[in-house]
């Protein structure tokens, strides 16, 4: 009965094959590709492999590991802070960090500026076809490390791949939720005449680090990006100043000058600064002098400005200085009533000038 035998053998073969496949699918995921291809964005097997090999192990936590379409969780608080930010920095890696640290710290800091303790983040990736998997791995590892440092978990995510030339290697979007203990009005409309302006440390490090990391400029320095999560520093401030804390902002793009102008315009007050009180590292000042830039318009990624009621200023300042990220904090100026909407600087030689917002974009894609 050759025919029956054949059928029997082939059934056995098939069962054996099925069993092999079953075992194979239970194995760990191996990503053999060296570069991201369009198939990694197809939603099919390659996408699955990429997620399981790169993202899932790095970001692993019970909420993410379920791999459902949404992360579902309980929060026992009535005031939440919610924010989102996209990261397109070029170059992807620079002294002091990478797009990975920025994507975590930037969103954590946006939550922190509402006084919030950050809890959960989402992470969306737009990858350009041809990106080296090794680079993606480094970015994801940096994100995992930054998230651990900030005490946040990435609970949901998404990955898309676009054709070569349609994006620049990696763009990341992160959104975040946090719990805010702030029950009083706090924000950029809340600065009042008499308030003091505090700055958590030297300005300009991030922008200058990025500028110098771009190849067109041959200047060698030791300047590193200041990217850091600020929520603990904020917690210290909240404890010290309480409702005396009127406004928190992180001077990212546009620098201290732009941020303070926004506060002056929204609060309809004037801000007077003392140039000599504003901390700037000598290397940053030097680079700015050479390149004709003003450190006050250069971006920061780990600094904050606090507008504090005068009676709480001293306590707030020492609370900041007791935290490693605020060791070089300084009182740099104060809020006045008139003329509303403007920021002034008492210059080093004793003159006065208007400090305006950054105009144009001397340095695109810094975060």
């Amino acid at each position: 009965m050759p025919d029956r035998d054949k059928a029997y053998i082939s059934l056995g073969d098939t069962l054996a094959k099925i069993e092999r496949v079953r075992q194979h699918r239970r194995q760990k995921f191996y990503l053999h590709d060296t570069h991201v291809t369009l198939s990694h964005g197809s939603g099919g097997k390659a996408t699955h492999n990429l997620i399981e090999a790169i993202f899932a192990p790095a970001f692993s936590n019970p909420l993410l590991d379920r791999m459902d379409d949404s992360a579902v969780f309980d929060i026992t608080a009535s005031r939440l802070a919610f924010t989102t930010d996209s990261y397109v920095v070029s170059p992807l890696f620079f002294p002091g960090g990478s797009i990975g640290e920025l994507a975590i710290n930037g969103t954590v800091n946006d939550l922190a500026m509402a006084g919030a303790r950050p809890l959960y983040l989402s992470a969306g990736f737009v990858l350009e076809e041809g990106l080296a998997i090794e680079e993606l791995q480094r970015i994801v590892d940096a994100m995992a490390k930054a998230a651990a440092r900030a005490g946040v978990t990435i609970v949901t995510g998404d990955t898309k791949v676009v054709q070569r030339g349609k994006a620049d290697r990696v763009f990341i979007n992160t959104a975040g939720v946090g719990i805010s203990p702030v029950t009083w009005p706090m924000g950029q409309a809340q600065a009042r005449p008499g308030d003091k302006v505090l700055l958590s440390g030297p300005v300009g490090d991030h922008g200058i680090a990025i500028l110098l990391a771009r190849e067109a400029l041959d200047i060698e320095t030791t300047i590193e990006s200041d990217t850091a999560p600020l929520h603990e520093l904020v917690a210290n401030l909240l404890e010290a100043a309480g409702p005396g804390l009127h406004c928190l902002k992180d001077p990212t793009r546009g620098g201290v000058a732009t941020t303070l102008n926004e506060i002056a315009l929204t609060s309809e007050i004037s801000i007077a600064l003392d140039e000599t009180a504003i901390p700037v590292r000598p290397e940053v000042r030097g680079a700015c002098e050479i390149l004709g830039l003003d450190p006050l318009t250069i971006a920061n990624e780990g600094k904050l400005l606090a507008i504090v009621a005068p009676e709480k200023a001293e306590a707030a300042l020492s609370a900041m200085r007791s935290h490693p990220l605020g060791r070089e904090a300084a009182l740099i100026g104060e809020v006045r009533a008139e003329p509303a909407g403007m920021v002034f600087l008492k210059t080093d030689i004793g003159g006065t000038r208007v400090l305006d917002m950054l105009v144009g974009d001397p340095l695109p894609r810094i975060c």
Partner: protein, 388 residues
């Protein structure tokens, strides 16, 4: 910061200013700082606040971005738009409006426009992109011309074929002469452009003192440099002297930089005439490449429209550049013309008088004119807490 902070000492500034006050005896004096770098320092550090009110600083034509006529910018854009071209420029030039658009617009529309801090970087880009034509937009006074010259010499030595220079270098002396000959000239003295003098030396300025009887002080770029130069100018006037003096002796040598001059001489020659924004055509006021360097001359390699474009009628950059009016006296200053949407070039570069004034100075004057309370910052807000 070493070598910088020494030139920003507030006490010394005040002492010098009270000397200026004593020597000038209340006479109203108009002193022109020729260089845009000086204008920038004056506004950035609020020097007009510390100078006695009878000293009036007039901002001269020394911002290379501001004096370039629109037609030349149109030419640059035309080159940048040609296929296979990488157009390389200093950052300031990106936003300068031509008759219809700027280089920034051209880039947004797909032209490959990049900015560098040195023309040698442009040469590097040419090395890295052998299949492209790299064009460097050379602008500036005698300060930047030597670096263009050195770049050309290197391109020649290394036989780099895909590199050329769109030369717009201008000369400061003919511009000063044009201002001195202008009928609305009301100046009492000049602060000479220190970095230009570093290249050309002191002698080319002698005619200002000799023929026009105006003091010239070649000045550095830190706040105390400028205040000291004003002091030296006022002292000359007080003592009846008319000389070329060198305040910037730590950099400027009387004979200039012979090596730089030699490089310029090898690669460039005078143009019979050149148009300056606001000042019109000035003879022998600009440089072009020598015929030996025709191979690297973008004007010879590419078709450029070369059309002269009249300045917008509302724009008074010309009068500002001549010092005939102050930036805020222009009809469109701060209304139609702002750093975000500049009409005239003086509003574009940070060295332009209008942009410098708009960014740094507009309040103190508004305060003087409208008798607003001037902010008293004499008690630094943080002083008592700083060391707590």
């Amino acid at each position: 910061m070493k070598f910088v902070d020494e030139f920003r000492d507030g006490d010394l500034a005040r002492r010098l200013c009270s000397e200026i006050d004593r020597l000038s005896r209340g006479q109203s004096l108009k002193i022109m700082e020729i260089c845009g770098g000086h204008t920038h320092t004056i506004y950035k550090h609020g020097i007009e606040d510390v100078l006695p009110p009878n000293i009036d600083m007039v901002h001269g034509p020394g911002c290379p971005v501001c004096v370039l006529p629109m037609g030349r910018i149109d030419d640059a854009i035309a080159i940048a738009r040609q296929p296979g071209v990488i157009f390389v420029t200093f950052g300031d030039m990106m936003r300068v409006p031509g008759s219809k658009s700027s280089l920034l617009d051209a880039r947004a529309e797909g032209a490959d426009v990049r900015f560098v801090y040195s023309p040698l970087d442009a040469l590097k880009i040419a090395h890295q992109n052998p299949d492209k034509q790299v064009v460097f937009f050379a602008i500036g006074f005698e300060t930047t011309a030597p670096s263009t010259a050195v770049t050309l010499l290197r391109a020649q030595a290394e036989k780099i074929k895909n590199f050329s220079v769109f030369c717009n270098h201008v000369l400061v002396i003919p511009a000063i002469q044009a201002i001195l000959d202008s009928p609305d000239m009301r100046l009492d003295g000049f602060l000479g452009p220190g970095h230009v003098c570093m290249v050309i030396g002191m002698r080319p300025f002698a005619f200002v003192a000799r023929d026009y009887r105006k003091p010239v002080v070649l000045s550095g770029f830190e706040p105390l440099d400028i205040i000291q130069s004003v002091y030296m100018t006022v002292k000359q006037l007080d003592e009846g002297r008319r000389e070329v003096e060198n305040q910037y002796a730590r950099v400027v040598r009387p004979e200039g930089n012979l090596k730089a001059l030699e490089a310029m001489e090898k690669t460039m020659e005078g143009r019979p005439f050149f148009e300056w924004r606001g000042l019109g055509f000035i003879s022998h006021s600009a440089l072009k490449l020598r015929p030996e360097f025709a191979e690297w001359d973008a004007e010879k390699r590419f078709e450029v429209p070369g059309i002269r474009v009249a300045d917008p009628p509302a724009c008074q950059c010309g009068e500002v550049l001549k010092g005939a009016i102050k930036p805020w006296e222009c009809k469109v200053f701060g209304t139609a013309c702002t750093p975000e949407t500049p009409i005239g070039t003086c509003m574009v570069s940070s060295e332009g008088a209008c942009a410098a004034y708009f960014n740094y100075g507009r309040f103190s004057l508004a305060a003087q004119r409208n008798r607003l309370p001037v902010i008293d910052l004499t008690a630094p807000t943080g002083a008592n807490l700083k060391d707590s």
